[in-house]
């Protein structure tokens, strides 16, 4: 029968299949449609119930709704902002921007620093020096097994708030006065470009473009002729030398705005408040420890045969690492690393516990307490984080598609 079916499957299967009895309660299509409609009804009813309760409650409490509040002025100030904002002049929309930028600033800095530190610690975990490997293990376990919030608070009240007072400030730059730290924060010099600085900028942009083409040329040459070219050294030279020469030739058109002690505080340069420093350091330490584990697992996941094979064709240990092990390890390091980046952004909201003005602290807490508009503000804040999460996972998907092993 089965052999027949393959020869003339349509006709045969029509013979073989028993007469279909349509049973309404046993049919899978009917059942799945029923379950789905039931789910939609329950969920729809739930949402409708919540919405009707909410509108009723809003009416009853006489609360205003709508996004009109965004253009009304906010009356509170915040000590750390990247864009102009004046209490009583700036709007709630401005507050949203200030908070969002603060969140992005601390997140981006923390992502960069924790990625670097995480890779270093991850490699140290695999060091053949027993003591170093153990020491990094202790760091990783200590940091991973205590709550991040507790760490942030510890860095804030336990470290950055008990630094010397302004008078006895500590100079991190060894007497040059460029980087000063005290219990009010970190004060640093800020470069101020002069009139002719645009020439240096232009040169630098030109060398970046030049490097791009150089790398492309070198790759093509390597692929076609098999000749190596010192790409890293050459591009570094191309990036640094022309800009430096032009900078010096135009007469070093750059001055430093250095923080100076005026009265009771430092003025000039940039200032990072203790809350910012505590949040940054805690985020970096915490996520670096998590990343270190991912890096370690990633390197260990590379098959030993790969290293052996690379050795046998005569690659040097450095090239084995950079050409064979790291590229393959990256495939398994990248996904946890990117979700860690996402966690950095999300965990930066713990700033609210130590008074750093991030989006949640400014918009979801202070502004919400002052103006009401709970639904709009909560919605906007959540939408912000969702957008960032979507962006980051989009990048991850692109990367995953590029490096995925092509399997049979």
């Amino acid at each position: 029968m089965i052999v027949l079916a393959t020869r003339d499957s349509k006709a045969a299967s029509a013979h073989i299949r028993p007469k279909e009895e349509f049973n309404f309660f046993q049919d899978t299509r009917v059942r799945s449609a029923f379950y789905q409609i039931l789910t939609v009804l329950i969920v729809g009813w739930g949402i409708w119930y919540l919405i009707s309760n909410t509108t009723h409650n809003l009416d009853r409490l006489g609360m205003n709704t709508g996004f009109g509040f965004l253009s009304s002025t906010a009356g509170f100030d915040t000590d750390f902002k990247l864009i102009e904002y004046e209490p009583g002049v700036g709007t709630y929309w401005r507050i949203f921007l200030v908070g969002a930028l603060n969140t992005l600033l601390v997140s981006i800095l923390a992502i960069i620093a924790s990625t670097i530190l995480g890779f270093i610690v991850g490699v140290l975990r695999l060091s053949n020096n027993w003591l170093v490997a153990r020491l990094s293990l202790v760091y990783v376990e200590l940091v991973r097994n205590t709550p991040l919030l507790l760490q942030i608070i510890f860095w804030y009240v336990g470290v950055f708030s008990v630094l010397p007072r302004v008078k006895n400030s500590f100079d991190l730059s060894g007497g040059a006065g460029v980087l000063i730290i005290n219990n009010r924060g970190l004060y640093g010099g800020w470069p101020v470009p002069g009139d002719l600085f645009w020439i240096t900028t232009a040169t630098f942009i030109a060398s970046v473009i030049g490097t791009f083409f150089l790398v492309r040329w070198a790759r093509k040459r390597r692929d076609n002729l098999g000749l190596q070219f010192p790409i890293v050294k050459a591009s570094l030279a191309l990036l640094v030398i022309p800009s430096t020469v032009v900078f010096l030739l135009t007469g070093s058109p750059m001055s430093w705005d250095i923080p100076t002690l005026q009265g009771f505080n430092f003025v000039g340069g940039f200032t990072l408040p203790p809350a910012f420093l505590a949040l940054l350091v805690a985020l970096v330490a915490y996520h670096a420890a998590h990343l270190a584990e991912a890096v370690r697992a990633g390197i260990l996941s590379v098959n030993r045969g790969q290293t052996d094979a690379a050795k046998s064709i005569g690659l040097s240990p450095n090239r084995i690492m950079s050409l064979v092990v790291i590229p393959q390890a990256m495939r398994s390091i990248m996904p946890p690393m990117i979700s860690l980046w996402m966690n950095v952004v999300k965990n930066s909201t713990l700033a609210v516990a130590i008074g750093y003005g991030d989006l949640v602290a400014l918009f979801m807490q202070t502004a919400l307490n002052q103006a009401g508009y709970a639904i709009e503000m909560v919605g906007m804040t959540m939408a912000f984080y969702m957008t960032i999460s979507l962006l980051i996972s989009w990048v991850l998907n692109i990367y995953n598609k590029r490096v995925q092993l092509v399997e049979r």
């Binding site: 919540l50 009853r60 053949n128 097994n145 510890f154 336990g158 516990a353 949640v360 969702m386 999460s389």
Partner: protein, 442 residues
Amino acid sequence: MGIVNATKTPARSAPLSEGSVLGWLRINLFSSVANTILTVVALYIIFLLVRGIWVWGIQEAVWSAESRRECFKISKEGACWAGVINWLDSIFYGRYPREEIWRINVGGLLLVLWMAPLWIPRVKGKVIIGLTTVFLYPFLAGYFFSGGEKGIFMQVMVSAAIVCLVAITIHAALGFFANSSLLQFLLRITGADKSSEKNQRNVLLGLLAAAFIGVFVWQMSWQFESVTWTKWGGLFLTFVISGIGIAFALPGGIILALGRRSKLPVIKVLSTTFIELFRSVPLITVLFMATTMFPLFMPDGFAINKLVQVIIAVCLFNACYMAEVVRAGLQAIPKGQEEGAYTIGLGYWGTMGLIIMPQALKVMIPNIVGSFIGILKDTTLVSIIGLFDILGMLRAISEDVFWRGLHHEPLLFGAALFFILCFAMSKYSRHLEAKLSTDHKD
């Protein structure tokens, strides 16, 4: 043409062996110049850390004093552990009335008693014991912790829980000492072990009903003094919130994960949206949402307190995270298992419950425990929205009149406490993973 050596080749020294102490040191610490430098630097760091901790934390520390000022009088260089010791009760129990604290301890002990049989290999019926822990124990514990007038519902649940606890304890003891079970024991003493199955069931149900009625009548004779949730705090509150979060996260996560992998498009889309919505926002925004928007969602005259709001938020949030852990575990199971289960005639729930989930859960143990640790750590966030969990209590010490400004010691104590809890959990999960592993060891 051969190579002839006139002189004898000098003997090479024996290779370094890891067996001897010196050999181990040479290989692991001083194998090269760079390694030696690293070792010396590491030793110096360890020396500084250990000396600092020793001098500050133990040698110069003050263990008993009445206030921070007194601490300073005794020692300026050392830690003031006296503040932590004075506040120990508050750190563990918050502002719970001191004379009622035994209720929390007993509630905790009951949980240990309830769950201990799960670790005794000879005891049977572990699934039922586990389920009752999730569905009956919370009512008993809840009444122990909050007390007050028992409603009729609470009376029924508390009685059921007590009957269940007694049954489990006897069952576990019988299993441990006599390798028997409660059912066999009951049937034997009533002499019904030889009669028909139906008869046996009736006897057991009768005994159960009698026990329940007995306990129900007994529990009407006593009640605990009411303690409102605002008095709950410290490590106790952290355990309550994270415990409920953990108990809800796994079943909730399994349901959401199954929904996400469902073949029914509507259920799939809804589960995916729900999971991704919660996973893409920070927990603190969910907590703020719970405290500002839940009151708006409720119908007129129906108010839920802050603790319940927070618990709902924590449960939903963690269920979504757990869903992704479960999904990863489900993906690790080869498709052949599912197809095989369908071929032998199992339906959807049979396939999932008997074939896929047991295998998947085993794969997921490290990640599940990792999530549990995460829940425990994340619970500290409730201190931001004004609940006095352990972190809230630790910070309150520095605002106490006598201990103003005492920051380091409480926070370090809390960190040590969390470290012990979380580290023990993760070590246990490794042990469990190794025990349950059926892979070939290499």
